[in-house]
Subunit: 136 residues, 2 copies
């Protein structure tokens, strides 16, 4: 992987959205079904109003013992951490390490267009490795 390449090269566009009223249990099913570690929360106008990860579910639902039908609006993060799609990968990794986060939203002109996760980093590392082996 090229640390200077823009994050949009490596991000995934598979962003799965749920409504603010979706229950934590229903959202958990969706995470498992689509094999993702985070979901965006989208209002009726299509705006991203929140974001949450599997960690948030554990920290904000299981630890305090909230019921499974708690709406995701009560556990989502509203202050979204985002990077612009043209930000170099190396810079993005720095931000993720600094905040100790495994998922970061990617925006373009103020609109969320994708997400970059540590699974994408794994994929990028592996692709680079395969290229390195095949050119030996």
């Amino acid at each position: 992987m090229d640390m200077r390449a823009p994050v949009k090269v490596y991000m995934t566009k598979k962003l799965i959205g749920v409504k603010p009223t979706t229950s934590v249990q229903e959202a958990s099913k969706i995470m498992m079904e689509f094999d993702v570690g985070s979901l965006v929360v989208v209002d009726d106008d299509g705006n991203v109003v929140g974001f949450f990860t599997k960690s948030d579910v554990i920290r904000r639902v299981i630890v305090p013992g909230l019921p499974y039908d708690t709406p995701v609006s009560e556990i989502m993060t509203k202050d979204l951490i985002t990077v612009n799609s043209s930000t170099p990968l190396g810079e993005v990794l720095k931000v993720m390490a600094q905040y100790r986060i495994k998922h970061i939203l990617v925006e373009e002109e103020g609109k969320i267009v994708g997400i970059f996760t540590l699974s994408d980093l794994l994929e990028a590392s592996r692709r680079k490795l395969e290229t390195a082996i095949s050119t030996e």
Copy 2:
């Protein structure tokens, strides 16, 4: 990071263990306290008898609606996926991608000695990046 270096160079030794009888809620608190995404389950003789991740908690507790006081022995994975500590990093990443896992246990002479996670990959990528910049 050097894809041919043994995984023991990059693994973390911070392995947190809980008992099979520990409740899912208590285990979740421990995960948050130590900022880890997985725990090993250790019996009274000190043997690792299981392993589980935040994903397992969501998939096997929240989705089916089990109570928070379910013991971790009911949701842990018993068939542990491990790599030897001398396995090259590139090979380890291949195994993780193949099984779609974010944490892999590292063994030495049949004993679990550490864990390698995608957070360790982030750290290794960043260290490499910093080295590259400082030698420019």
